[in-house]
């Protein structure tokens, strides 16, 4: 790898990092605004035009709040928890293909940080690491509400990871690759995987809700029962990190869903557009399409949050173990039968 490539990768990493932070920041604003619209309200509108500076004010507030570490908390783990949470949230973006190869000047740039051939496995590894941030934070707080929230998070994530993995297996049987780049490339034009795997996608999105701890699976936080769940004892920017991690997770899982099932950067008629706009603008349109899909998914996350009440814990486990896993296995069997005999 020559120096120029390294510099380009570095720039790409910085850009993706910045974008995911900005998206997470404005997701908090979008969440409040969308919640307001769903409830016939206006939402934040005082800071800047339409309240657009609200996330900055919230961030400044988070930084200026007092840092509190409870006396009986384990200080090292207490700090390690949120750091780990945000770290694992950011890691996932490394393997997502953001677009086709783009030509800048005479150089062809890959819009993906790392094209590893086990991209899907990598995503799963990072996602399952995510539970440690919550678990460590909840444990280190030395508070029963935090611990309960952390235990809920751990068991919920572990349960739903199984059906998530199984729902992916059916997809991988059809595509025959674990590389996200190839997965995206295979869905060229309109051959999106959701058309071949509707049940798989349904299972995946339900599991994605559970993995990101979003309503109706937000039992780890569960304001009404557990005060704040695993982050009850957290204040200042450490709390901010947890909240941020949730929104980055949402962004990354939306990106993964778009890439795996909804064609990634592909859209109908993309070849025609590519020929007519050239090798620089064409792929950029693909990137915009991918982001449009991501934002639609983020909107869907929020839409569901303000519609559906939270599951009871036993219902959550019932759904995970008795419904989703059998369905996922049936999906694998069906996919196998259909791809062999049809």
């Amino acid at each position: 790898m020559e120096l120029g490539d390294i510099i380009i990768k570095f720039i790409l990493v910085v850009i993706i990092f910045a974008i995911s932070l900005v998206v997470a920041m404005y997701s908090t604003y979008a969440e409040r605004k969308i919640a307001a619209f769903f409830q016939d309200r206006i939402g934040p509108n005082r800071a800047g035009p339409w309240g657009l500076l609200q996330p900055l004010c919230d961030g400044a507030k988070m930084f200026l709040k007092e840092e509190i570490i409870p006396t009986n908390a384990s200080a090292f783990l207490f700090i390690a928890g949120p750091s780990l949470a945000i770290l694992t949230a950011c890691l996932g973006s490394a393997v997502i293909p953001w677009g086709q190869n783009i030509q800048i000047g005479s150089r062809v740039v890959e819009l993906q940080v790392a094209d590893i051939n086990v991209g899907v496995l990598y995503i799963f590894g990072v996602v399952s690491l995510g539970v440690y941030g919550v678990m460590i934070g909840g444990w280190a707080s030395n508070n029963k509400y935090s611990l309960l929230g952390a235990i809920r998070a751990a068991s919920q994530n572990i349960s739903y990871e199984i059906s998530m993995g199984l729902s992916i297996i059916a997809l991988l049987m059809l595509t025959g690759t674990l590389s996200l780049r190839e997965l995206a490339a295979q869905q060229h034009d309109w051959h999106w995987n959701v058309l071949r795997q509707p049940l798989g996608f349904l299972l995946f999105i339900v599991c994605a809700f559970a993995e990101t701890n979003r309503t109706p699976f937000d039992l780890p936080e569960c304001e009404t029962e557990l005060v704040g769940g695993y982050h009850t004892e957290y204040s200042s920017m450490k709390l901010g990190f947890y909240l941020f991690a949730e929104y980055i997770n949402m962004f990354i899982s939306s990106a993964v869903m778009a890439t795996l099932y909804w064609g990634g950067y592909n859209y109908p008629g993309m070849d025609w557009v590519l020929v007519h706009t050239g090798p620089t603008i064409g792929p950029l349109i693909g990137v915009i399409v991918l982001f449009a899909k991501i934002f639609l998914f983020i909107f869907f996350f929020m839409w569901v949050r303000w519609t559906i009440p939270r599951f009871r814990y036993d219902q959550l486990m019932d759904l995970g173990w008795k419904v989703l896993i059998p369905l996922a296995i049936a999906n694998i069997v069906l996919t196998g039968l259909i791809s062999n005999y049809l």
């Binding site: 969308i34 307001a36 619209f37 769903f38 409830q39 016939d40 309200r41 206006i42 509108n45 839409w303 569901v304 303000w306 519609t307 559906i308």
Partner: protein, 165 residues
């Protein structure tokens, strides 16, 4: 057992059918309901900029009235203070001096007239009790403040602005 009243109602709890257990149709109909609200006009009134219209008989901040010549109507008879259930009104009476005829209508007037807005319950009994039609609760909402002492409104805040000025 014989029922004590005829209000008892038997509730039938049928087991959920397949579509109800599948949960998805219910979620979709819920999502469509929230989406309907998404495009509805917000009901919010941004208060300090926009105000909801008050009703005809809204009782807000008190004002001490002047008569058609701009003289203060209040004669410090004390009936308002007597009628006040919250004991929010106090006053000190004084005699009108020579040369003050253009200020006060009667020979006696209120030198000090104070209403404690934290005590006042805005019942309007003072305006009913007043024989001189001197006090009315026709003002705006009493504004917020930081100190308790600042809620005791004196004549500077209560008396109507003089005429032609």
């Amino acid at each position: 057992m014989e029922s004590l009243s005829n209000k008892r109602k038997l509730i039938e709890s049928k087991p959920l059918n397949f579509w109800e257990r599948a949960y998805l149709p219910a979620i979709i109909s819920g999502l469509s309901i929230t989406m309907k609200h998404f495009f509805r006009k917000p009901v919010t009134i941004s208060y300090p900029e926009e105000k909801r219209e008050f009703s005809e008989n809204f009782r807000g901040m008190h004002s001490l009235k002047r008569d058609e010549n701009g003289k203060e109507r209040c004669t410090a008879c004390g009936l308002c203070a007597l009628s006040c259930p919250a004991e929010a009104i106090t006053m000190t009476a004084a005699e009108r001096q020579k040369g003050e005829e253009h200020l006060y209508r009667e020979e006696k007037y209120a030198a000090v007239y104070e209403i404690n807005m934290l005590r006042c319950i805005f019942c309007g009994l003072c305006e009913e009790a007043c024989p001189k039609e001197a006090i009315y609760l026709d003002g705006d909402i009493v504004p917020a403040d930081y100190l308790r002492k600042d809620f005791i409104y004196g004549k500077d805040k209560l008396v109507e602005a003089p005429l032609n000025q």
